[in-house]
């Protein structure tokens, strides 16, 4: 594992310090930090960065609420529990690209059932805000089940006896949710949030298929990809890659420090 990750990362750092454009391989030379300066002083990076942060924050927030509702429904439902769980797993398992195409065509004017609900002449995928809304929708649809299943695991740890005792003591459903279920699920919620935040931050497939990152909808991953494979600029592309890596590391660090999540590893370590 180390060989396939550590070495390439080191190599990426090295590449990011060079001027290296595949179209002009002869001009390869060591340029120090100037690739980083070029990226960070450029509007594209900051635009992609804010887009990514916005998508991450909004979709994770929606997923948490929806995922919790879904987990409660799956946990408590009286009938057809198996069918519900099966259905919910399909978005989780489906190939992101296939799902993204489904959303694309749904919103393509003329072709799609959803686009036809909109007033004539609107093409949501070609405008920044509507397009971002659709990206969030596609992302939420795809990953809420994952969130719900992680939360379901936490929910299963809440003892039924405790809930019944609370009920006997006169606690209503809302009180039982906020006073007993949520506090007991805290570790599960934090782990789910951490996973999903880091995952959402590297969003790529959905945006690539839905908008190709046009009209100011590109995430940082899209920006890195474009620089590598459209502009063939390995130096700049690597610098972007390293910056994304740093962002993810910072997010993980903040989560663990601020929320006192025991490092996710402790989940494996036992606690149960």
């Amino acid at each position: 594992m180390l060989a396939v990750t550590a070495y390439p990362v080191g190599y990426a750092v090295w590449l990011s310090l060079q001027r290296y454009d595949l179209r002009f391989p002869a001009q390869r030379e060591f340029v120090g930090l100037s690739n980083y300066v070029a990226v960070l002083s450029d509007g594209y990076w900051w635009n992609a960065f804010s887009v990514t942060v916005a998508i991450t924050a909004i979709s994770v927030a929606i997923e948490l609420v929806l995922g919790l509702a879904l987990a409660l429904a799956m946990h408590r439902t009286l009938i057809a529990r198996g069918a519900v769980r099966t259905a919910v797993l399909i978005p989780y398992g489906i190939v992101t690209v296939a799902a993204a195409f489904s959303w694309t065509y749904a919103w393509t004017p003329g072709t799609g059932y959803l686009a036809n609900l909109l007033p004539d002449g609107s093409a949501p995928l070609t405008e920044q805000l509507p397009a971002l809304g659709i990206v969030v929708l596609a992302e939420v649809w795809k990953t809420t089940p994952f969130m719900a299943l992680l939360l379901l695991a936490g929910l299963a740890l809440v003892p039924d006896d405790l809930l019944r005792a609370a009920q006997v003591d006169g606690a209503g459903p809302w009180q039982r949710l906020t006073r007993i279920i949520l506090p007991m699920m805290k570790p599960a919620i934090l782990v789910a949030l951490l996973f999903r935040t880091l995952d959402a931050f590297r969003i790529f497939d959905n945006i690539y298929v839905l908008t190709r990152g046009n009209n100011g909808t590109g995430s940082v991953s899209i920006l890195g990809y474009d620089n590598l494979f459209k502009a063939f600029n390995l130096g700049i592309g690597s610098a972007i890659s390293i910056l994304i890596f740093l962002c993810v590391a910072i997010i993980a660090f903040l989560f663990i420090k601020l929320f006192g999540t025991a490092a996710p590893g402790s989940n494996v370590e036992g606690r149960r």
Partner: protein, 278 residues
């Protein structure tokens, strides 16, 4: 719970269940519907096709582009899954059974990798694989897939292995079984469900990947279906390949649906890492 089993409550839950199922299935049904529409009606915007046709499926299976990609997808995903699960089993066994220095570090590192932004690896891998000749080959994709799915495998397997009552092994030995016998007829049957679950999850991961697939391949020598779909072209320059893409999307969704139908319980248990027992 039985006391609350009134018909009214049941109907309420039925409604909620239907909502959930509708939420989960609508986009899937839509892409399936598109794939059955004839080219002339693809843009009519109806959710249910007015005319049904299999032309789109015939179209994609008639060309090499899709069939090659399908073979690549299946081959690469299976090989990567087998290797990742095999390596993961050893690591998970060590984590679950033994205490050794650096155990926490190993878990930490594997989780770090699981959450690693793939794009950060794409640029160096692209350069390295081009120079060692792995670019656009099966191993060129299998290698990063193993790396990224190994943490998932270790994590899930370790959770399952922890649940195994290892005292049984000792008990079996006490009853006169040899170490090998105890392992084969006591531990293996107990561990099998966890291994199957993990294999499914890893397979889904490899099957799903898009970023590596478009970055580290350039021809249909190793291009997988998701990557091939993104570069589909219509039968003429002016025709949007909507139908073909929809058909391809349905084809690669079929294995997922089968997995989900047959192993629903397993997958849920795997994702929630055995916590539902109890």
């Amino acid at each position: 719970m039985a006391a609350m089993d009134t018909p009214g409550r049941k109907a309420g839950w039925g409604l909620i269940d239907l909502l959930v199922i509708g939420y989960a299935l609508t986009p899937v049904l839509w892409i399936a519907s598109l794939s059955f529409k004839p080219t002339s009606l693809v843009t009519d915007g109806h959710f249910i096709p007015r005319e049904w046709t299999l032309d789109n499926y015939r179209g994609i299976f008639a060309t090499d582009e899709f069939t090659r990609a399908l073979v690549n997808s299946i081959g690469i995903a299976i090989i990567a899954t087998v290797l990742a699960v095999a390596i993961g089993m050893m690591a998970a066994y060590a984590i679950a059974r033994l205490s050794f220095p650096g155990k926490k570090l190993l878990i930490g590192i594997s989780l770090l990798i699981a959450m690693f932004p793939q794009i950060s690896l794409v640029s160096p891998l692209f350069e390295i694989e081009r120079s060692v000749g792995l670019f656009d080959t099966w191993p060129g994709l299998i290698l990063p897939y193993i790396t990224f799915s190994l943490p998932l495998a270790i994590y899930t397997l370790a959770a399952f292995f922890r649940e195994i009552p290892w005292e049984l092994e000792k008990a079996a030995k006490m009853d006169g079984a040899t170490q090998a016998q105890a392992f084969r007829s006591v531990i293996v049957p107990l561990a099998a469900p966890g291994v199957v679950t993990t294999a499914i999850l890893v397979f889904i991961f490899c099957w799903n990947d898009f970023l590596f697939a478009i970055s580290l391949t350039s021809t249909d020598a190793a291009r997988t279906v998701p990557a091939a779909m993104a570069s589909f072209t219509g039968s003429s320059q002016f025709e949007e390949p909507t139908g073909s893409i929809a058909a391809a999307a349905v084809v690669i969704t079929i294995p997922i649906v089968l997995f989900v139908l047959f192993f629903q319980r397993r997958i849920v248990a795997g994702l929630t890492s055995g916590a539902v027992k109890g």
